[in-house]
């Protein structure tokens, strides 16, 4: 502690440089905290404990559809209380950058399956009665300024129409809210009728198939048993199934992009490499400027080890202050990300992310601090004081 004034003096010697270096460390570790939380969320083991809604999709690929004929067979599995189905559509509105999730759903059963989507009765009836009807979440409607009665054109990116065009037009008949503010992320999607979609799609795109089934089970404690029973029904068939929780299904969906862990590791590798160069350069510059001061410390009796310790403490302080601030920033921001995904992406900072972050802080501090520390150790007092 008695060396603290020396440490503070070293850090405050060039306030702007220290601040900028610390901010770059903060930014890197904030990014690390968020990305590692995503990685952990995607790499968490799958679990069916306490789940009352399950998703049945193709065992082989999320983009492989399942026959509509599975509906009655899944329904007949003991423990299945309700069922619905949906299809990812992947349409874009006006411009590809206007991306939002849009699904073809079996209107009646879908709304019954997801009571968290709150739709006024009149709009619900309009959705059930209008073949070209679509409903959107409040947030999405506000984003594009849509109101009931609008015609919403979507450009298909996967499913062309029978006539070969990609233009699908829907009538906006309802705007739903959510029952829980934590699910606001669900308000950023659009649902339209599966029968309209199925009849309209190009015959080459397998009409009569669905993207996935969602089933409600009678008792969450039966989740594993029911999931196993469903999958056994279709074992060794052309379209084998994989039944999993909604969260695991969402993760599988996102994993289509690629190996999330590898992507995150790649990004973080680049970020930390840049950080290493930047912070290393700042530290080296700082030590170069202070060679006469370090020589004075050695002159009055500070040992080589003490000087090495001071330089390492300086890099440690930079990394610890900036790194912990960055991790704390990520920790405080992630609940908002979680809310945006309506809780489907459980991105919270786990203890393992903190542990990994602290290890990285330690290692980077060492990597950044050691070369200038050794340089400081090698300073010849006589040469440094003579200005050589």
């Amino acid at each position: 502690m008695k060396y603290l004034p020396l440490l503070v003096a070293a850090l405050l010697r060039r306030k702007a440089r220290t601040l900028l270096t610390m901010l770059s460390v903060t930014a890197a570790f904030a990014l690390f905290g968020m990305l590692d939380a995503v990685r952990v969320a995607f790499e968490a083991p799958e679990s069916l404990i306490g789940i009352d809604r399950l998703i049945v999709a193709s065992r082989f690929s999320i983009i492989q559809p399942l026959p509509l004929g599975y509906l009655s067979r899944i329904q007949s599995v003991a423990g299945v209380k309700a069922i619905t189905y949906a299809n990812w559509f992947g349409g874009v509105y006006q411009d590809p950058k206007n991306f939002f999730p849009n699904f073809a759903v079996d209107a009646d059963t879908y709304l019954a399956m997801y009571p968290e989507l709150v739709l006024p009765p009149a709009e619900r009836k309009a959705f059930l009665d209008t073949r070209t009807g679509a409903i959107v979440g409040q947030a999405l409607a506000e984003q594009f300024g849509w109101k009931i009665g609008d015609k919403i054109p979507l450009q298909a990116t996967i499913f062309p129409r029978k006539d070969g065009s990609n233009a699908w037009t829907f009538d906006l008949v309802g705007i739903y809210g959510v029952s829980d503010p934590a699910l606001r992320g669900l308000e950023r999607q659009m649902l339209f009728r599966w029968d309209y979609f199925d009849e309209g799609r190009d015959p080459r795109y397998r009409p009569g198939t669905v993207g996935w089934y969602a089933v409600r089970i009678d008792d969450p404690t039966h989740a594993s048993r029911v999931a196993g029973a469903i999958d056994r029904q279709f074992a060794n068939s052309a379209d084998e199934t994989k039944t999993q929780s909604e969260r695991d299904f969402q993760r599988s969906f996102a994993k289509q992009v690629g190996d999330i862990g590898l992507i995150v590791t790649g990004i973080m590798g680049a970020v930390f490499f840049t950080l290493l160069l930047m912070t290393g350069n700042a530290m080296s510059q700082s030590i170069r400027e202070r060679i006469p001061e370090l020589a004075v410390l050695k002159t009055i009796g500070f040992s080589d080890l003490a000087v090495v310790g001071l330089v390492l403490a300086e890099s440690g302080a930079l990394l610890v202050l900036g790194g912990v601030a960055g991790m704390a920033l990520a920790w405080s921001t992630l609940p908002a990300v979680r809310d945006l995904s309506a809780g489907q992406l459980d991105v919270t900072m786990q203890p393992q992310s903190w542990e990994l972050g602290l290890c990285l802080i330690f290692l980077i501090a060492l990597a950044v601090g050691l070369p200038p520390a050794l340089k400081a150790k090698r300073i010849s007092i006589v040469d440094a004081l003579a200005g050589h």
Binding site: K2, Y3, P5, L6, V8, A9, A10, L12, R13, P292, E293, V296, L297, K298, T299, I300, G301, F302, S303, D304, L305, I381, V382, L385, A386
Partner: protein, 233 residues
Amino acid sequence: MGIAERPLPLVEIRELSKVYQRGREAVEVLHHVDLAIPDGDFLALMGPSGSGKSTLLNLIAGLDSPTDGSLRVAGRRIDRMSSGELARWRAAHVGFVFQFYNLLPALSAQKNVELPLLLTHLPAARRRRNALIALELVGILDRASHKPAQLSGGQQQRVAIARAIVSDPTLLVCDEPTGDLDRHSAEEVLTLLQRLNRDYGKTMIMVTHDPKAAEFARRTLHLDKGTLVEQVA
């Protein structure tokens, strides 16, 4: 006083040589120097540039090691010490005053003076008190909280002297302590050094180019081409 009763000199140098390697060339900066400096002396070392006076000062202060010969300070052979032992020895026995003060710019005068005390086991309150006493001794207590940039050259050198004496060292080495000061400030600093020698018995070795500065010392030695050439009483 008989020879047997004569006290040992504080600094005892025998056949001291220093050779620097400049590329392939070996340059002998000090050539078999013999010197004895008694306790309480105030010695001025003079000589032209390159004569070896700063090298001799650095060797006596334990900042550098001789190539040959022996160097004993307060009875200890410092020429045989490792760099770690020398660092500990310097902390306990030597105070330094440099031409350009060499204060740490981000620390206040008081914190600068406290620096040598960080190497002791003194508690913070005691360190602070000793630093303030040293500042008072050099007549600059009212500037204790000022940073070096807020002080004049003469004031900075006083802070440097306070730093040099705060741990009550055996020996005070001063390398051109007035080289960067105007005449008035230089005289103040030299008077202060003289007072520390006379009133407090501090042994001092001062390298200087300035004959007027050397007049403040008890005696002056001249070095030329690495050899002591003249001794003026």
